[in-house]
Symmetry: D3
Subunit: 322 residues, 6 copies
């Protein structure tokens, strides 16, 4: 059922952004620190019985120079560098196997899938360790409050840095046209997509689906569904840390990245989505600074647009790539 | 958690089959009646932005000559007739879009997906109407008890007939090697696969995953999960129809089809599967008359082997096709 | 708890009706087509050990001339034709047995109970098959979306036609005074009652309790309870069919029938009813064109007024019949 | 699903009874104390718009001479004293209104419905206060542990005494044939029925449906459903009172009353009943000392045999009364 | 998640009080009647292996002169009469053991814990019987509707009277400074605390945590959580008793007691508390007539401020006692 | 309800232990590595308004020399070194505040509470970071599978090492008699207690309540409750890691530590405990090599013996300390 704002209200919902003064400095220093390590993207061909595509196991250096895994999948026998869709993954899942990622290659694009550090044990398996070099303060189970007492130690600082480096890794491969990079992902993958939209220049398109990691305070008080609810669960116990936590989260809010984006974007949201409520998605969408479109699915929850929206995305890609 | 027999018990679990005397007559008459209608398989090429595969919308005549939809997907530019994997769908889902079925084509095989009549509104959408020409007696919501008071009017009589005709439709296409047909499917799709394994000769392989529609009486009393539970829900109201219902179901029990099968088979099951309990799967497996293997996933429920098992199936296909 | 409008808001809640131009034509053609078949109401006395009442098994021809079952129960030894209460049944239930329908006969009235085609397996048993002669497009389990893509094939077209014919069947019995027919029912039975109130002339009274099948769009977005939720479940999968579905439903909306009614009515509703929310009931009530009263039960859900309201209805009947 | 013993095991399940030495003394003293008060059954005719039956509001003196309410309903214009079905009510419900009790009168019998003291606020309303003259020790919400630390103060001592007096009240009415008394009831009503079967002589028949209050220790450890679970909830807190509580309950166990019964009986049970598990019902049934029959409904829970069983009971009554 | 008013709305939320004209008369007569019995507070030293505190089992005469249990715990070897914190207990719990009540004694205060009659079987055990000398009308399981049809027989009349007598019992002990009595409790204990704040003069402080028993009508319609929901459950059955019930409750509403209070108070509430919604707490707080402070915990439910708030209370005590 | 073995079966339940050959080497190397860092236990007096006890904030160096927090609470003005109860904490909780730990000090003992690294955000707050210096492989949310692919990186390797060092820290304080150390804790605290019982010599007593971390394979297959279920959740995704995971867990199984223990022990368990099933507790108990007693609470779940058992423990302490 509907539980959030109505569609007309959503379309004009533009909450004030809570942005720390040193937001840009924080991120440029974070990325600069990561870039002190060589990227070292390694692509090893692997055999998964595929006849139409080539599959590569990928390793590159992400946050703090730590190794991050991924897959690169290319249509076999492509004649020239291809556009590449970089995909980020939803909360709790990992990169799985190359056979899980056949949509974009079948459509003739390269696809680069980034594993999410520490995740990949709640549904599709992952292979990348997380290494909180500064230690992790006590946290509620899950990743939302891992190191949340300080922006410098917060889990998503590491993930967003990995994500920027993933684009760089994709661009480093000879089969890929570095000028035609598209970023996408659903839920947490959509939140990471938004972060990358504000941190990486020269993207061809940005396609966040039912994005997570936006408008944290509203999200934490409007729904009882995890993973946003992990914030509320943490603050239920740490009653005196509310301000600290939301200050940290302001460095990671999709609204703040969206306001810095320039590439054309296609968003999606489900109007009954209790996991990533539509008002938090529209909050980012309405602040998004590039050209933009959104598909709002009326009777959908966090499943969003499903294959219907995959087809929309393929059409959108045709448009922006031609 | 484990709730059914232990693995060693499962491996030797061979319950007596409840098979009506006229089982074979029932099915040969049913199929003969359907075959009085021309098959008329029509393949219309459709554009879903796919670069590596060709996609066809399919219509063929199933039970009672009624039109049934499907997809045929072929690797583009194949040089000679290909082996074809015919896939049946899980309960409540429909054929969706061709982009939902890229695994086998990417591996170099044709794939033929059969829509399930009346279904396709609970998760992935379907496009095939059901037409119970004899009328449907009162039933519990869902498909398990649709027309269940008589084998002649039972819903799965129509579905299993469609499934046999689907193999014939696949064989009728020029790009497909009619001698190399593999049938597969998960859950309801696995149950249909078993039915086909006993009704169609000359199959190359049979791969039922976490199959449904086996050992009905045990299933209806060992779990409260739908869809098996729809039987219990119906009999809770129709207290005087227990015998009638299980007589009907005996014409549709996967154990009885398995006992007639000849092709090599790869089964899968989850030992914690409360939807299709492992004892009902092993009941069919242990009665299966062809060469056979099974993968039992210890900590899995109805998700079974997931992509891990997809890879097992690709390996099994390489073996049986070479 | 309260989740819908407050009582004062409900009392003045008069949403715009969404009525297709050919609403009346649709229904007059539908009924005319059914009336081409003879009604052929057959009343067979049956023995259920009752000493004070006579019980008859009824069959009459409903939609498309298909046979529909019912019960007729008459106080034994009545001296002259009696007023008759025609009762329609809630979602999922069937006619059960005559012993389930003793209230109105004990009060001295005849009662005629109509079985609901296809239903009667979720709680009280039914005996009437459904026969969708045009075939049923894929639907979410249940009856709400059976054939919903076209008003001509929608399930409730068949049911409402049966319901009109049921009144005619009751009127055809010699023991019944055809000028004194009352229609009633709870939930789905209340929705059918409203349909009949707008389709049948000369009724003595109309008593819909916690009626279903009113103000579909609001209902499908304000609650997650079935059966209204079946609409949302269907549209969650068929994302591109929203307009089509609500166009079909506009031919079946209790508000549109209520606006055509003339008989005096007694409604009931529970202010905490999450199955048939009070705003959907008041929407129909406030549009009801005849004399009318409503009882709103403050702390009740879909149980509505229970036996308290049965007594209200007996009092209302005394009033309108004298 | 099935969770208790299988039907063959149930049929021979005869657990040892835990019966206190002074069981008979306890009950004869209890009843003697109640009978020191005059019964004073008062029958006041009341008008509920019924044409075929006469309805009386009843008050009689039960435990400790306290007033207990009931209904007496008689077919209008009966020519001679009638057999009377005395009905006891399920847990949490009350006597409601006469219109709730039309089955037996419509079949030509008198029916006498006893209100259950203190209850009648969880579903059908009641009108009889409970008055624990000895005070009630702390108890878990509900009635199962009210005064449970001592047989003398236990709630059901008062209820069972009322129930015996209810039979005496029914017998005291001129329209009733005191030699033809039948006792019945479902769930708690079935448990009370069993108690009366062992405490009252000269009954014509005993019909406990899905009876509660039998084989307490097994019941409290085999299910988590209330009301049996109230015992476990109480002992979860009062960890040192286990022996005390089960000693009290041994004075109220249906098995012990059944072993003293002499009238012919018709039991019912649902094999999937998690509220009153079938093994606790068969425990009482197998100890029942009179002629007996039982109907076991295979796919039913606490709903038992529903109207199907009502018809069985009417047939059983015809048999024992002729 | 947030479900009630926002914090700014709560801070100015001052609903009209529903106060019967004879509110004061009712309570002065009630207390006068209880005081006709001698208080007879008896303190028996008991050994629970405590080295730093002395523990006493307490019995005193409460409502109708009936014995009520409690504990008195004193720091060992105190040199002079101490301030005493009188604690009332949450719904369903009892006094447990002295080892459950070490906070205030460890801080150097006496603590007097009152058992709640009839309760103490749902979580921490209790030892005090309830004795409704006027009988208890039918009620929904639990204590909220016990005798609710008349203020004279309502359960909380007895409890609040006990609570006033508990303060008198504490004052009667030689080790306690009768001028320095503080009352406190959480949930039901907070509701009792508020009652005492309006009924007892000369208190040093009042500390209700997440108090229950305030603003009953709003509470019964804004949440489905017990125990407030017991009111709705009762009225769902007793559809004709709404006015009667809320009239009774008006004699027991924390808002009405708060308006009579004079001692300084520290309240607490959880803004996500669905058991005792914050608007019902602020309703009492905003009507509280003495000096007052409140701590609103943003992400907490009925757990309120936990140990964080214990420390607030210790600081508040230091302040008011010095 | 009961779901595990019966009490007589439990009493003789002695499953084979799965113990790696290098179990002792693993632990002696692990502890030796930790002891290369100075313990550096620092005790800072803090003011929490306590009059009868002194409270100290504690920091000591645990695994890998990382700082671990705790509390030390001493009865004020003790004349000589006291026995000290070292307490470990249940899953998800942290050390909270000293006011949460008043039981043993009030009984005249010192108490030392160890914070659990990384935890303390699900219920009682904690203050100790976790620092997995080797990185943490992907894990299911929670702590059960953190680093579980290798005993060297498994989370509990760090925790158990901290726990051994906590005993050493307690012993290092002048107010504590190092010869009289008792270890205790409930659930995870009980599991840690068992680990310490096998790793630390010279303990006075061991009191594990409803201990967790025992007999992992059975636990992971007999219950669906977290935290044991986290293992099943992880293996549901990582289908190929079953052997690896249980090999790691064999280094941490309470049964293996119990078999090395020497101090007298008092265990407790709840026979209906679905979180830490009684068979897993009895498995450790029956292997426990020292003198031992166990209290089995029949109707309790993971709440175990509650305050009743606190009193048992105080009695047990009196016995072993005298």
């Amino acid at each position: 059922m509907l539980f959030d704002l109505s569609l007309p209200e959503l379309q004009r919902y533009l909450p004030e952004r809570d942005e720390p003064q040193d937001f840009d400095a924080f991120w440029s220093e974070t990325l600069a620190a990561a870039r002190k390590y060589p990227l070292d993207a390694v692509f090893t061909q692997v055999d998964y019985s595929m006849a139409l595509v080539d599959t590569y196991d990928v390793t590159f250096n992400g946050y703090d120079g730590q190794p991050v895994k991924g897959w690169l999948i290319l249509p076999r026998n492509a004649q020239k560098p291809l556009p590449c869709v970089v995909e980020y993954i939803g909360y709790g899942g990992g990169r799985g196997f190359p056979t899980d990622w056949l949509l974009y290659p079948s459509a003739g694009y390269a696809t680069f899938v980034m594993d999410t550090r520490g995740q990949g044990s709640a549904w599709r398996q992952g292979d990348t360790p997380d290494l909180p070099s500064e230690g992790s303060s006590p946290h509620f189970p899950g990743f939302m409050t891992l190191g949340v007492l300080d922006p410098a130690t917060y889990y998503y600082r590491r993930v967003f840095t990995d994500a920027v480096r993933a684009v760089e890794a994709a661009r480093s491969h000879a089969g890929i046209d570095e000028k035609r990079i598209i970023v996408t992902g659903a839920s947490q993958g959509g939140g990471i997509t938004l972060a990358v939209s504000g941190l990486v220049a020269g993207l061809t398109a940005v396609m966040p689906d039912v994005p997570f990691l936006c408008h944290f305070f509203r999200a934490a008080t409007i729904t009882d569904e995890d993973p946003y609810h992990e914030i509320a669960s943490f603050l239920k116990v740490h009653r005196d840390k509310t301000e600290t936590v939301f200050r940290t989260l302001s460095y990671f809010d999709g609204m703040n990245f969206a306001a810095r984006a320039t590439a054309p974007a296609l968003f999606s949201t489900g109007l009954m989505d209790v996991t990533c409520p539509p008002s938090t998605v529209f909050a980012a969408y309405n602040h998004y600074a590039g050209d933009k479109e959104i598909r709002a699915y009326h009777f959908n929850l966090h499943d969003g647009g499903g294959t219907h929206h995959d087809l929309e995305k393929l059409r959108f890609l045709s448009k922006v790539l031609n």
